[in-house]
């Protein structure tokens, strides 16, 4: 009984029963030579002239069955049309209702049944497939955690995830979903962050690491201090962003919206005029049916919903349809060096003692000690690796750092216990009148050419050595540049505050097309503006505050590693949740595919209408054929958009490897 009820209320019940009635009608007409098809009443309908498909002269059982099919399938359409009409909306439902009622009045019962049946079944199919295009978001909503185990008064208590209080300790066990955003306070574990970053390889988490609600523990045990709950979690922000993005209209969409506002009433007027001029009621009704703008009105939304949802599932947040359209046109990408092409964690790589200083009794340790002592009071990012190395080697700076005078663009001058120590470039030494040491400049240049940042150390009046700090180039930086080119980006440009030599070395190693070095923040903005003047659509990738002006100027601002930053999720045009460089070419590729599917969809919709229109005036296209083709075009448009949900080829490669790995694991297990 329950199953029956569910079946009756399902969206397939009406079209299926209506379809069966149509089949039954054909059955009584043709089986046993029409013996099962008694006459019920004389003819009562209007004359359809040349279009009379009925053939018969009297009202028979088969006609009653056709009307029953039409009424069953058409009832909801009519109700919906009247509802829409009371709110002042002329919709597709109304076109279909008028056409079906008109067909019954002129005795084309088969057409009335066919049109309503096809519309109803098309509608059910549309609803089912449209939900699929939204599936990427539905998956995100589904990963939202339900319950949490919190530590209250030393006891484990299970509470709904939304009722965890800020600052409480939450326990995350193996296999459990992380219920809140928070910081690990103790324990270690592997967390699958695919729902946030799109990366399915679990990430090791230990004390003071950040974890996100909706990610899943794949082992270990973590105690997490809750810092974000419910709507204040990264997952909730992502879901919001995606929904807003899906609703944000693309430029093309606004045009189509305006178009369809006039289109539907326009079709009704056209049908009326055509009917009045030719006196052909069937022609007018057929025009109504084929004029349904169904495929046109959904052509863009389905593509955007699928494209943005697909991107979100891969850890790429795109702000909306308009940004999707702009991203598809990106021809130049500007990247900040530090933290983007490089890891952003500089290491001390070289300590060189100058020959002249060595003769005077300086050694490696002393150079390092002086350098560290000088940098002790500096806040420059390059100071940290020097100080850390000195501490590791037991010559770290102790006590209070001396007085520090930074010289912008050159280095720093300090006073260490009464000794003047300089650390910086050749111009700094010149400025302080230090005796020129030819070897110092040469060593510095050699190190710079290898992509390291050299700093000459001078004690009192003498240059004693050179220390060099280098930031590791990211493993996939070169691959990213290559894939950006493959995705149709003409120019990849590096913008950096670092020196020309360092920038060149890194540019060469990564295959960057153009480098701009020694830039101040406003210079970065100018570089982006210059690219735009050259006619490029520019995407800028950056993370630091010094990139902010350039990010704002670029056509598309891209934030990397955005999962940890609520601001980036809210403001970046494209936010890459994880720290994976290859997501950038993927985002551009996806934007291109989405926009091309939008265009294909508009083309499909318009061509269908034009061809059908021609078909009606040239003859041959009946109301039911029109509806069939029309519903077909709607489904084609949806199916086309669903292609976006499939994994692109570039992504399936690593999956294949992992599959192979798992097979080999299984093989080894079976052979044991």
């Amino acid at each position: 009984m329950n199953t029956l009820q569910r079946w009756v209320s399902s969206k397939w019940f009406v079209p299926i029963v209506s379809g069966l009635l149509i089949l039954l009608s054909f059955g009584v007409q043709y089986i046993a030579g029409g013996a099962l098809n008694p006459v019920l009443s004389p003819k009562w309908w209007l004359d359809a002239g040349a279009h009379d498909t009925h053939g018969g002269v009297a009202f028979m059982l088969s006609d009653l069955l056709m009307i029953a099919a039409a009424v069953l399938a058409g009832y909801r359409i009519l109700v919906s049309a009247i509802r829409a009409l009371t709110t002042g909306f002329i919709g597709i439902d109304l076109l279909v209702s008028v056409a079906a009622i008109g067909a019954i009045i002129i005795g084309n019962f088969w057409e009335a049944a066919a049109v309503t049946f096809l519309f109803a079944i098309g509608h059910a199919l549309e609803a089912a497939t449209l939900n699929k295009t939204r599936s990427a978001l539905a998956e995100l909503v589904a990963v939202a955690p339900d319950s949490a185990v919190v530590l209250r008064d030393g006891e484990q208590v299970e509470v709904p995830a939304a009722q965890v209080r800020m600052g409480e300790i939450v326990l995350v066990k193996n296999g459990a979903k992380v219920p809140v955003d928070g910081q690990v306070v103790s324990g270690t574990g592997a967390i699958d962050e695919a729902s946030i970053t799109g990366e399915s390889i679990p990430v090791e988490k230990s004390k003071s690491d950040q974890v996100y609600a909706g990610t899943v523990s794949r082992g270990g045990f973590l105690q997490v201090l809750a810092t974000g709950i419910g709507a204040d979690t990264t997952l909730a922000r992502i879901i919001h962003r995606v929904e807003e993005a899906q609703d944000a209209k693309a430029k093309t969409q606004t045009f189509i919206d305006q178009f369809s506002r006039w289109y539907t009433p326009g079709v009704m007027v056209l049908a009326l005029i055509a009917g009045l001029i030719t006196g052909d009621v069937v022609l007018a009704l057929t025009l109504l049916v084929i004029g349904c703008p169904g495929a046109l009105v959904i052509s863009i939304p389905v593509a955007i919903v699928a494209g943005i949802g697909r991107a979100a599932r891969n850890g790429i947040l795109i702000k909306g349809g308009e940004y999707l359209e702009t991203s598809a046109k990106i021809s130049a990408v500007a990247v900040d060096k530090t933290g983007t092409l490089t890891e952003g964690r500089p290491q001390l790589t070289d300590i060189v003692v100058l020959d002249a200083a060595r003769e005077a009794g300086f050694d490696r340790t002393q150079v390092l000690r002086w350098a560290a002592a000088a940098e002790a009071g500096s806040e420059h990012p390059l100071a940290r690796p020097i100080i850390e190395t000195a501490q590791d080697e037991g010559v770290g700076p102790e006590g209070i750092p001396g007085e520090v005078t930074p010289v912008p663009g050159k280095g720093i001058v300090t006073d260490v216990d009464g000794t003047r120590v300089l650390i910086g470039n050749v111009p700094l030494l010149e400025q302080y009148g230090i005796e020129r040491d030819a070897q110092a400049g040469r060593v510095a240049n050699e190190l710079a050419a290898e992509g390291e940042t050299p700093m000459i150390v001078a004690v009192e009046e003498r240059a004693v050595g050179v220390v060099a700090v280098a930031d590791q180039i990211r493993e996939d930086a070169a691959e990213m540049v290559k894939r950006l080119h493959e995705a149709g980006v003409e120019k990849v440009v590096m913008l950096t505050g670092d020196t020309q030599l360092v920038a060149e070395a890194i540019g060469k190693a990564t295959g960057i097309d153009e480098i701009h070095a020694s830039l101040l923040p406003e210079d970065k903005l100018d570089a982006v503006a210059k690219l735009q003047r050259e006619g490029h659509t520019v995407a800028m990738v950056g993370d630091g505050v010094n990139d902010a002006p350039a990010l704002a100027t670029a056509d598309i601002g891209v934030a990397m590693g955005a999962a940890g930053s609520a601001v980036a999720v809210e403001t970046a045009d494209i936010a890459l949740m994880g720290d994976n460089l290859l997501k950038l070419p993927e985002a551009i590729g996806l934007a291109k595919r989405t926009v091309s599917i939008m265009r294909q969809n508009i083309a499909i919709a318009l061509i269908t209408v034009v061809v059908l229109l021609a078909g009606v005036f040239l003859g041959g296209v009946t109301m039911s054929i029109g509806m069939l083709v029309h519903e077909g075009s709607v489904l084609v448009v949806i199916a086309n958009a669903m292609r976006l949900l499939r994994k692109p080829r570039s992504e399936s490669a690593p999956q294949a490897t992992s599959k192979r790995e798992s097979t080999s694991v299984r093989d080894s297990v079976t052979t044991q």
């Binding site: 909801r76 909306f89 597709i92 509608h123 609803a127 449209l130 939202a144 709507a231 955007i304 919903v305």
Partner: protein, 77 residues
């Protein structure tokens, strides 16, 4: 109409198949007593309602959306 009594409810719905659903639902929910504002998003099939909880409950809104022909469920965010 003060902000203190207004609740913001987000519903996620199923089966939006054409943009005319938007008008239908907005009118129907908007007619409910105590509903200040209703916004239906077609693409993400979301319904956002500002309402006075004492006059119209979340269940009333779900029922109204159901009458317009669509299934929906309230969502935490």
């Amino acid at each position: 109409m003060s902000a203190a009594t207004t609740t913001h409810t987000t519903l996620r719905a199923e089966g939006f198949s054409c943009p005319s659903c938007v008008t239908k639902i907005e009118k129907r929910v908007g007619k409910l007593d105590g509903v200040d504002d209703v916004k239906v998003h077609f693409a993400s099939s979301r319904i956002e309602v500002d309402h006075d909880e004492s006059k119209t409950s979340v269940d009333d809104i779900v029922a109204a959306v159901d009458k317009a022909g669509y299934k929906s469920a309230p969502s935490a965010f």
